[in-house]
C-alpha cells in the first residue's frame, strides 16, 4: 500500500472513532439543559435525577472524546505535514480558537458541573450546564469552519512561498459552507443523543423500572428527536446538498453514481454502481427529482462524471455512493420512527405500546451509523483534494515519515481503541443498569 493509503486509513479510523463520542456529548449538553430547565419550571425533582444520570454518561463520553480528540490535532502535523505547512496559516486560526475559546470553557465548567451541584445551587448548576453547551457547540463550530475551508476554501491569499494565508477573517469564519454544514451536523448530533435518551427510557420502561424517569427520557427524547430529524432533512440537508451541487459537481455525480449528463435527472434510491462499465445495476429511481433537489427545477441539467476530467473524480466512488445513500436512507427512517413515537405520545399510548418502545430501544445505534456515513460522504466526496481545488491529498503527507512507521501507529491505535471501546461499553452498561440515583452524587470527594 502507498504511504498515503496508510495515512488516510489512520486518520479515517481515528476520527471516526473519536466522533462517536462528541456527537453524543454535544447533543446531550442540550438535553441536559432541557432537563434542568424543566426542573426549575415544573419543580419535579425527577428531572434532576435524570439530568444527573445523563451527566454521568456525559462524563464518560466526554473523557473518551477528549483523549481520542487530542491525537487528531497532532495528526495534522505528524501525518499531514505538507498540508499543515500549506494551510496552517489559515486553518490554524480555528484550531487555536477552538482551544482558546471552547476547550477552556468546556473543561472548566465540566468540573463545576460534575462536582459542584451542591455548591452552585439549582440556578448556578443550570448556568454551568449552559456554559458546557456553549463550549461544546462552539468547539463544533470551529472544527466545522476548518473542514468547510477544506471543502470550499474562502478568505485566503497565496503567499510568495506558496503557502496559504488568511486575508479575510469574516468570510473565512462565516463561510456559507460552514454555516449549513454546522447546522446539518449539529441537528445530527442532537438526533443521536435523542435516540440514545429515548432508547434508555424505553429500556427502563420495558423493564418496568423507574417509571417516572423512563417517562421523562421517552417524552423529551422523542419530541426533541423528531424536531432534530426534521431539521436534518430540511433545510439543513437540502442546503448542504445544493452547496455540493454548486461547488463540487464531480462529487454530486459520484454520490449519485451518475456517469452521464442529463436533464430531468433521476434520484437513485438503490442500486449498485459498476464504475468500470460506468453504469448502475438494479436501479430503483424517482424520475426528475435529482434535478429539482440539486438546482430547484425538475428540468435542470445535472452533469455526470464523464463531464469532468478523471483526475478530479473522487477516488472511491463506490464507497462514497453507498455512504451517501446509507445516510439519506437512515435519515428518512428516523423521521418515520420519531413521527410515529410522537403521534403515540400525543395519543397517550407511547408508554403502553411495547412495539414502539422496542423499536426505540433497538434504534439507538443507527444514528451513529448515519452520522459516520454522513461524514464519510463529506470526506470521500472531497477527494482527490485535501483542500478543494488547491492541494491534492497525495501532496499533503509528511515526506519524512516512512510507511512502516505509519502502519505501526495505526496498529497501535486499533489495539488501544479496541480496549478503550470494551471498557467504555462496560461502564456505560453499568450506569444504565444502575439507573438514575435519587441522591446528589456529584459532590463527593
Amino acid at each position: 500500500m502507498d504511504a498515503v493509503v496508510w495515512d488516510r486509513f489512520l486518520f479515517g479510523f481515528t476520527i471516526t472513532y473519536h466522533y462517536l463520542f462528541p456527537q453524543l456529548t454535544m447533543g446531550l449538553a442540550l438535553l441536559i439543559v432541557v432537563f434542568k430547565v424543566l426542573r426549575l419550571r415544573r419543580g419535579d425533582p425527577a428531572y434532576d435525577d435524570v439530568a444527573r444520570f445523563w451527566a454521568k454518561i456525559f462524563g464518560v463520553n466526554f473523557a473518551v472524546g477528549v483523549v481520542t480528540g487530542i491525537p487528531m490535532e497532532f495528526q495534522f502535523g505528524t501525518n499531514w505535514a505538507r498540508f499543515s505547512d500549506f494551510a496552517g496559516g489559515v486553518i490554524g486560526l480555528t484550531l487555536a480558537l477552538e482551544g482558546l475559546f471552547a476547550f477552556f470553557a468546556e473543561s472548566a465548567f465540566l468540573g463545576l458541573f460534575l462536582f459542584g451541584e451542591k455548591k452552585l445551587g439549582p440556578k448556578g448548576h443550570l448556568g454551568a450546564a449552559i456554559m458546557l453547551l456553549l463550549g461544546s457547540w462552539l468547539s463544533g463550530y470551529f472544527i466545522i469552519v476548518t473542514n468547510a475551508f477544506m471543502q470550499h476554501p474562502v478568505g485566503y491569499t497565496i503567499a510568495p512561498g506558496g503557502a496559504l494565508q488568511l486575508s479575510d477573517l469574516w468570510s473565512y469564519l462565516f463561510n456559507p459552507w460552514a454555516i449549513w454544514q454546522y447546522a446539518h451536523n449539529m441537528s445530527a448530533a442532537v438526533t443521536t443523543s435523542s435516540f440514545v435518551v429515548a432508547a434508555v427510557g424505553s429500556y427502563w420502561s420495558l423493564m418496568k423500572l423507574y417509571p417516572l424517569h423512563a417517562g421523562i427520557c421517552l417524552r423529551v427524547g422523542v419530541i426533541v428527536g423528531l424536531t432534530a430529524c426534521l431539521l436534518q432533512l430540511f433545510p439543513t440537508g437540502d442546503r448542504q446538498g445544493r452547496l455540493v451541487a454548486t461547488y463540487q459537481q464531480p462529487t454530486l455525480a459520484a454520490m449519485e453514481a451518475k456517469f452521464e449528463r442529463s436533464a430531468r435527472a433521476d434520484l437513485i434510491i438503490i442500486g449498485q454502481p459498476d464504475v468500470d462499465r460506468r453504469r448502475l445495476d438494479n436501479p430503483i429511481t424517482v424520475p426528475d427529482v435529482l434535478s429539482f433537489l440539486a438546482y430547484g427545477s425538475f428540468g435542470a441539467t445535472v452533469n455526470g462524471l464523464e463531464d469532468f476530467p478523471k483526475d478530479s473524480w473522487p477516488d472511491n466512488i463506490e464507497l462514497l455512493y453507498y455512504m451517501y445513500h446509507v445516510m439519506v436512507g437512515l435519515g428518512t427512517l428516523f423521521i418515520a420512527i420519531m413521527a410515529a413515537a410522537v403521534f403515540l405520545l400525543w395519543r397517550g399510548l407511547l408508554y403502553q405500546s411495547r412495539l414502539m418502545r422496542w423499536i426505540l430501544m433497538l434504534s439507538a445505534p443507527f444514528p451513529y451509523i448515519a452520522n459516520t456515513a454522513g461524514w464519510m460522504t463529506a470526506e470521500l466526496g472531497r477527494q482527490p483534494w485535501i483542500v478543494y481545488g488547491l492541494q491534492r491529498t497525495i501532496h499533503a503527507t509528511s515526506p519524512n515519515v516512512s510507511t512502516g512507521t505509519v502502519a505501526f501507529s495505526l496498529l497501535g491505535y486499533l489495539g488501544l481503541y479496541l480496549v478503550l471501546g470494551i471498557l467504555f461499553l462496560y461502564l456505560v452498561g453499568r450506569e444504565i443498569a444502575h439507573g438514575p440515583a435519587p441522591v446528589p452524587h456529584a459532590v463527593a470527594a
Partner: protein
C-alpha cells in the same frame, strides 16, 4: 509581531507545565503518599476538577503553534513522529485511568488504574523533559525543512542522535523530579492528614535533589550547546528570569520550614516558570535549531505565518486568554481550601 507570538506560545507552554505539572506530580506520587483507597480518592479529588482543563493548555498551545508557525508545526510533529505517537497513547491511558477508576469499587480494578495512572504520569513527565532537551540540543533539520528523529540511536548527542540520548534523557529525569516536587507541594497544600505529611516529606527531599540536578543539567547543556550561554551574556534583560528561578527554589525551602503550604507551591511554580523562561530567552529567535547547519534552523523569522494573519490572531488571542484565566480563577476559587475525607458517594 513574530516575536510576540514566540512569547505567547512560550507563555502558554509555561502555564501548561505549571498547571498540568502538579497533576503529573500527584500522579507519580499517589502510590506512595496515599496508601488506602480513601487516601487515593483524596488525591483524585484534589486534581479531579482541574486536570482536564490543565491539559487544554497543551492543546491550545498546539493550535496556536500551527497558526503562528506552521513550518515549525509540520517539521517538528512529523520529525518526532514516533515519540509523539507514544506520548499520545500514554496521554490516552492517563486520562482514562483518572476517569475510569472511580466507576468500579473492585480493588483489583482500582489497583490497575492507579498503577496505570502513576506510570503514565511518570512517562509523560520524562518525555516532556526529553522533548525540551531536543529543542535545546537541536535536530537534524536539513535543506528540505524536514527531519526524521528516531526514538533512539546510540544515546550519544552526535553525530546522529535519536530523540532519546544521554542529554535529553537527563533533562527528562530532571523534569520528572521537578514535577514530582511540584506535585508533592500541591498535595501538601490541598490535602490534610497523612497524605499531606508524606507529601511534605517527599517534597523536602525532592527539592534538595532538584537543586543538585539543576546544576548538573545546566553544566551538561553548556557542554552540548555552548551557544545558548553566549546568548545569555548579551541578554541582560533575561537575567531577572534566572533570579526568579533561583528565588523560587529558595522560597520552596523557606516555606517548607515555616509550614507555609501555598507559598511553597508558588515557589515551585516560580522555579518552573523561571527555568522555562530563561531557556526560551536563550533560544530566541530560534525555535527548532538544526544541528546540520544553523542556516537550516527554523526561527521566528523564517517559519511564521503572514503578518496580516498574525494580527488577526492576536486580536482574538487577547480576549480568549482573559476569558480562560477568568474561568481558571473561578474554578480554583470554587474548589478552594483543603479536602477532607468523605464517604464515597460517587464522583472521585
Amino acid at each position: 509581531m513574530e516575536t510576540a507570538w514566540f512569547a505567547l506560545i512560550g507563555f502558554m507552554l509555561t502555564v501548561y507545565v505549571v498547571l498540568d505539572g502538579f497533576d503529573f506530580g500527584a500522579g507519580i506520587l499517589h502510590l506512595f503518599v496515599a496508601k488506602t483507597d480513601e487516601e487515593r480518592r483524596t488525591v483524585f479529588a484534589a486534581i479531579g476538577p482541574f486536570w482536564d482543563g490543565n491539559e487544554v493548555w497543551l492543546v491550545a498551545a498546539g493550535g496556536v503553534l500551527v497558526f503562528a508557525f506552521p513550518r515549525v508545526y509540520s517539521a517538528a510533529l512529523s520529525g518526532f513522529y514516533m515519540p509523539l505517537t507514544i506520548l499520545l497513547w500514554v496521554l490516552i491511558v492517563r486520562g482514562i485511568s483518572i476517569e475510569f477508576r472511580s466507576h468500579e469499587r473492585n480493588p483489583l480494578w482500582r489497583a490497575f488504574w492507579d498503577a496505570a495512572f502513576a506510570s503514565a504520569s511518570l512517562l509523560i513527565a520524562l518525555v516532556l523533559g526529553a522533548a525540551l532537551g531536543n529543542l535545546i540540543r537541536g535536530v537534524p533539520l536539513d535543506g528540505t525543512g524536514y527531519f526524521r528523529s528516531p526514538l533512539f540511536t546510540n544515546f550519544l548527542t552526535r553525530p546522529r542522535p535519536g530523540t532519546l540520548d544521554w542529554y535529553t534523557l537527563s533533562v527528562g529525569v530532571f523534569t520528572a523530579a521537578v514535577l514530582t516536587g511540584h506535585g508533592a507541594l500541591y498535595l501538601w497544600w490541598k490535602t490534610s492528614g497523612l497524605v499531606a505529611q508524606r507529601s511534605a516529606l517527599i517534597a523536602r527531599r525532592c527539592w534538595a535533589a532538584i537543586g543538585i540536578m539543576a546544576i548538573a543539567v545546566t553544566a551538561a547543556t553548556a557542554w552540548v550547546r555552548p551557544a545558548l550561554f553566549e546568548a545569555l551574556r548579551y541578554r541582560i534583560w533575561a537575567w531577572p528570569l534566572l533570579a526568579v528561578a533561583v528565588g523560587g527554589w529558595a522560597m520552596v525551602f523557606r516555606s517548607i520550614v515555616r509550614g507555609k503550604e501555598l507559598h511553597a507551591f508558588l515557589g515551585s511554580a516560580a522555579f518552573i516558570a523561571g527555568m522555562l523562561a530563561v531557556t526560551a530567552a536563550e533560544m530566541f529567535p530560534t525555535i527548532l535549531p538544526s544541528m546540520i547547519d544553523p542556516a537550516y534552523s527554523l526561527t521566528v523569522w523564517n517559519a511564521a505565518n503572514g503578518r496580516q494573519g498574525l494580527w488577526i490572531g492576536l486580536a482574538w488571542w487577547i480576549p480568549a486568554i482573559v476569558l480562560a484565566v477568568g474561568y481558571f480563577v473561578y474554578l480554583f476559587r470554587s474548589f478552594r481550601g483543603k479536602l477532607t475525607h468523605r464517604p464515597e458517594t460517587g464522583g472521585y
